[in-house]
Assembly symmetry: C2
Homo-oligomer: 339 residues x 2
DNA sequence: TCGGTGGATGTAACCGGTTACATACCCTAC
DNA sequence: GTAGGGTATGTAACCGGTTACATCCACCGA
């Protein structure tokens, strides 16, 4: 492990009989090198297995060539998909991605500050870290907030409120459900809060109120399972459950039938995200599709652009969503659809 | 964003009327500074909001103060838990963690090589990257392989083969199941392959053979759901399904009941990992507990130790597992247990 | 009085790259 | 023959830290 000292520019320069400047020009594809010289230098580079030190390079260029991503946790298909979008853009910019799972860290603020010191730009999921910390960090690196609110300079998001209002309206208007409850509302997370607002708006527009406070304070499958058991224990299962995301809905789907409740007959369920499992679980999940990978890609693109000094004006990017009606709401399968 | 130039050691030195050496001594807690001087320097540091550049520091110390982690993907509670273990150790060593989702990257080999250049040590999940690449990278950074095989220098793992053999034995010996199938066997991943071997060993020891080839080639919930639908389509549902991990089992649990199959009455299911959902889904999941966070923590500890030059001898660390019998295998709930 | 000792601080080299500017050379045009 | 211009390459400073070694000073004992 790291037994031999890695070769440096000076080693290559000496071996190839040129100056360090020429070596540097070769490694950074500067055209001002005679073809013959370039070949000789390249040969030395290959012979020694030389690769420029990222530290030296970063110091000289005053650039880390790295993008930081702050997410609440690292579990769940939603974040995996988001990261896929981020990675694809980062790879195209030859930039490393450093992810920070905020919930895994005892001292989030400190961790974010340290992260800012070793990256050029940050993509931060709203609600993972104090706005004060974000502001403090914003004059060191470019910051893009995912699902941010108007007070953040640059944000990328979807309109969760309208989307959740629409899917809730479907449950009431098409299926006639009157007793609905929301599942998944962690304190401090703006995105579930938005969806919950949309849920309540749909109800109040129809003269209804939610038939109980939101269930569960987490966003993972395990929280859906816990909610299902709480519901069963209370003996009061509503007509329909509107979930803050698909993960929670799966937790319900993996628990309610075993507890004796048929979905959607005894209780209808809708999710949010439209991840891969939504189209395969049984019943297939009615949900709101959002372009998750694009959210990540857009955020990464904006962050990297800002880091290269392209002073993008303060912007709020809203990507489109689409309600996907399947069977967990009570609809029959579309003719020809795979059950 | 990055509008003002950050202060450097020389700025602080000038302002405090001392030399750079003294400033450096203060920031690195060197005791050879008079208390009074230290206070003066600290005041300047605070006044300017100075924090040492990680690049300059890294260059001088020849240390990145970063740990790389290579995992297949970033989804799923298993990896989240693993990372929690890694992060806790890294935080204690004041070290940043950079995760690489191998499946998110088109060019894994290149990505790993670049990662190696900006970290001091690598924790790599076996099967995510070619052993040749690993070997090439191993003389630049310390490498610890998770779930690795004997050919890797340092590995941390559990004995998945014995564990899976035991839980399969339970299905046959206690519940009398004869027709069993395995679910989840991605090509190239050694861990599921080990578990599959244990499964087959249990069967052959009892004069049985698996009643069909392994179902599904993925390890996520969606693969379990797909397997459930394939099984339904084939019309041939076995007595029991042994899953490579809990995630797959949940995919089954969120799909089979909706397809008309009761678990465990029509088909028994067992998982592997014992993640949080296992104890809450219905029926609760019979599975193999493994100390996931500890696996990550141990790997991180070994990697960091090796990076600091502590030439740990080649080692193979095997952490213990434990079969957890609940109800998805067909057992009745233990008296007093929460259903 | 003076050499010796130890503690606090400063000087300058070094880590491994990039790059502004200088230089050397060749070719062309007057 | 030489001024002028373009091209290929080299020199040395710089990026922002750390640290070996030198220096300075106060205090000690002989």
């Amino acid at each position: 492990m790291a037994a031999v000292r890695r070769p440096t520019v000076r080693d290559i320069a000496r071996h190839a009989g040129v100056s360090v400047a020429t070596v540097s020009r070769v490694t950074s594809d500067d055209p001002r090198v005679r073809a013959e010289t370039r070949a000789r230098v390249q040969a030395s580079i290959d012979a020694h297995g030389y690769t420029p030190s990222s530290l030296g390079l970063g110091l000289a260029r005053r650039r880390h060539q790295a993008l930081g991503v702050v997410l609440p946790g690292l579990g769940g298909p939603y974040f995996a998909e988001l990261l896929r979008g981020v990675e694809s853009v980062a790879a195209a910019h030859d930039t490393a991605v450093t992810v920070l799972g905020a919930h895994l860290r005892p001292d989030v603020a400190g961790a974010v500050e340290r992260l800012a010191r070793r990256t050029d730009a940050l993509v931060v999921q709203a609600g993972t870290v104090d706005d004060a910390v974000l502001a403090a960090v914003a004059d060191e690196v470019a910051v893009v907030v995912l699902a941010g609110s108007p007070q953040h300079p640059t944000t990328v998001r979807t309109d969760g409120e309208s989307a959740c209002r629409d899917v809730t309206a479907h449950l009431v208007d098409v299926h006639g459900h009157r007793r609905l409850r929301f599942v998944g509302l962690p304190p401090g997370a703006p995105e579930p809060a938005q969806r919950h607002r949309g849920f309540r708006r749909a109800l109040s527009e129809r003269g209804l109120v939610e038939s109980g406070p939101p269930l569960s304070v987490g966003l993972e499958a395990v929280d859906g399972a816990a909610a299902a058991r709480d519901l069963r224990a209370s003996g009061d299962v509503p007509d329909a459950l509107v979930c803050a995301n698909d993960e929670i809905a799966f937790g319900l789907l993996a628990t309610l039938p075993g507890l004796g409740y048929d979905v959607p007959h005894d209780v209808a369920i809708v999710g949010f995200d439209d991840n891969a499992l939504a189209a395969l679980a049984a019943p297939r999940l009615t949900t709101v599709h959002q372009p998750t990978a694009e959210l990540g890609a857009t955020a990464a693109r904006l962050a990297l652009a800002a880091a290269s000094g392209e002073e993008e004006p303060t912007t709020d990017h809203v990507l489109p969503t689409r309600t996907v009606v399947r069977e967990s709401c009570g609809c029959s399968p579309a003719p020809g659809a795979r059950r």
